[in-house]
């Protein structure tokens, strides 16, 4: 227990430790449970706000019971390169010769690569070149005539590099760097008035740790060969190869998000981003994504870091996640997010590419070598 835990415990302490009566709530829940027919899940079929992709969704409000001013929003996951950004607002392909199912199945058929077997002393090297959103959403004074939330969004260019040793119990290395790129995505204030994002302590620097344990103070400690950790090669060994079984896996893994096709697709892309998926699993993975309802080609040629692929996704109201794959080789090139018809922020134009990442992998002979 640290000082920080003690201080956190003092915050809203009285509310958290009140001993209010729960009997009425219990009765309400159990009455509903008694009336619940055994049978299929009704909730997932409903269109509710909670089907949104939480991990891709910066919620434009603080977790607070009242309106809080000055909420910093350093949004999570990745984003885009020049070419992807410039095509942003016209994501419909000019010519669409193949369906998304055909593109994905062709990509699966085209995977001929045999994964290299790492020799002792060699490393799997994974590089992610990405543009992440950074920005600020500000609270609105309650007496302001215009109650539209205000703020702004930047795209920041970053590079994350990781070396995983053949013997995973040895040191792994991760290097994070902020690259010079910075793009203005929009805001309710002029760009000149928006503060440029600053790197936090985990945005940059080099970390080493056996079994990928880059943050040794975190508890419980990261386990070597943890099959539930998708940053770990063991995770991929445990997954099924059959497309329908993969669909079932995606459904189960996203159950807490309602398992809608868009959520399952998003999850599937998120796992691909690790750069660790072996070729035999990747083929089944593409075929599984092709089975999801609503999967569609959104752009026939997207170039990320010099590699061109087809962007495939499933429409979603606020933000769409696109997988970018080369159908000729089955190579996973990267991914991007594109603002939907109702973007998270009023200052983002629908169709804008709100982030992307290009993933490359190879085998190297020494740690730190690229």
């Amino acid at each position: 227990m640290s000082d920080l835990d003690d201080v956190l415990d003092q915050i809203n302490h009285r509310a958290r430790h009140s001993t209010g009566d729960l009997d009425d709530i219990r009765a309400r829940v159990l009455t509903a449970a008694a009336e619940e027919p055994p049978g299929p899940d009704r909730f997932t079929a409903r269109k509710t706000a909670s089907r949104r992709l939480r991990w891709a969704v910066p919620v434009a409000a603080a977790a607070a019971a009242v309106l809080v001013a000055g909420i910093a929003l350093n949004q999570a996951p990745p984003t885009t390169t020049d070419s992807a950004l410039t095509v942003a607002t016209s994501s419909a392909p000019a010519v669409q010769l193949l369906s998304a199912q055909e593109v994905l199945n062709n990509a699966a058929d085209a995977i001929k690569a045999v994964d290299p077997v790492l020799a002792p002393g060699q490393y799997r090297f994974i590089r992610e070149h990405a543009w992440y959103q950074r920005g600020v959403t500000m609270g609105v004074p309650v007496d302001a005539p215009d109650q539209t939330p205000r703020g702004y969004t930047w795209l920041k260019e970053v590079a994350y590099e990781k070396w995983i040793p053949q013997d995973q119990s040895q040191d792994w290395l991760e290097r994070r760097a902020w690259l010079p790129g910075l793009k203005w995505l929009g805001g309710s204030v002029p760009q000149s008035e928006a503060r440029e994002p600053e790197a936090t302590d985990t945005d940059t620097g080099e970390r080493r740790g056996k079994c990928g344990n880059f943050f040794p103070d975190a508890q419980p400690a990261k386990a070597c060969g943890d099959p539930t950790d998708w940053d770990n090669p063991a995770f991929y060994e445990a997954l099924p190869r059959d497309p329908q079984a993969i669909v079932d896996y995606l459904r189960g893994a996203t159950a807490h998000r309602g398992s809608s096709p868009a959520v399952m697709f998003h999850w599937g892309v998120q796992v691909l981003r690790s750069g660790l998926m072996p070729a035999d699993l990747r083929a089944g993975w593409y075929r599984a994504l092709a089975l999801l309802d609503g999967v569609k080609v959104y752009e026939s040629a997207v170039t990320l870091d010099g590699r061109t692929g087809v962007a495939i996704g499933i429409e979603d109201e606020e933000e769409r996640r696109d997988l970018i794959v080369d159908p000729a080789t089955g190579e996973f090139i990267g991914e991007r997010t594109v603002a939907g018809p109702k973007p998270h922020h009023s200052w983002i134009t629908p169709g804008t590419v709100t982030g992307y990442s290009a993933i490359t992998t190879k085998v190297v002979d020494a740690i730190g070598q690229s």
Partner: protein
């Protein structure tokens, strides 16, 4: 200063130990009433404490009820082999907290439009003890400035006693991301406390 912190309702729980409470009842079985009675009795009290910290006492009761009702409707999707029950339940609650806040914000907009009431100048997170008021105010203000995912991960561990694996299940993120997030967030807040003492 008490050492039994972070557990609402005054029940000390070692956050790193799997307790009998973590063994979930059979939510998908033929008797949802018994299963949910067991689930409610095991988790409702600490969940209410957590939610009261997040949204205030009056809204917490509604969110406790809503959490269990959503869990009831979704019980067929819960797979005990994939996610710890606590992570699943608090994941639902976390979604509801976010939706609640969005509704609050919209309510403020609708109800207070053109009304010249001043904006509250305090955050939602307030310190209760005088002896550490300064540190608490500092951290409470910083909590309001955190991004949602960071705040959720921090408070799910600190207030609700979830492990990083349970937080990962709750937030739908890889455990490694949660660890990195917690490390960064805690370091940032700890630095505030260190600076204060200088």
């Amino acid at each position: 200063m008490t050492r039994l912190t972070g557990t609402p309702g005054g029940v000390p729980v070692n956050r790193c130990v799997t307790t009998a409470l973590d063994k979930p009842p059979d939510l998908r079985g033929p008797d949802p009433a018994s299963a949910f009675a067991e689930l409610f009795d095991a988790h409702a009290r600490p969940l209410r404490g957590y939610l009261a910290g997040r949204v205030g006492e009056s809204a917490a009761d509604d969110l406790v009820a809503e959490t269990f009702l959503v869990a009831l409707r979704r019980r067929h999707t819960y797979d005990p082999d994939r996610a710890p029950i606590k992570g699943w339940l608090y994941g639902i609650a976390t979604n509801l907290v976010r939706e609640h806040v969005r509704r609050e914000v919209r309510g403020h907009r609708a109800g207070l439009r053109a009304v010249g009431r001043p904006e509250p100048d305090h955050g939602t997170f307030v310190a209760d003890r005088v002896d550490a008021e300064r540190a608490s105010k500092l951290v409470a203000a910083a909590l309001n400035d955190l991004r949602d995912e960071d705040r959720d991960a921090l408070l799910l561990t600190s207030w609700a006693g979830l492990t990083p694996a349970e937080v990962a299940a709750a937030l739908g993120e890889p455990a490694s991301t949660v660890r990195s997030r917690l490390h960064r967030t805690r370091a940032r807040l700890q630095a505030l406390l260190t600076d204060k003492d200088r």
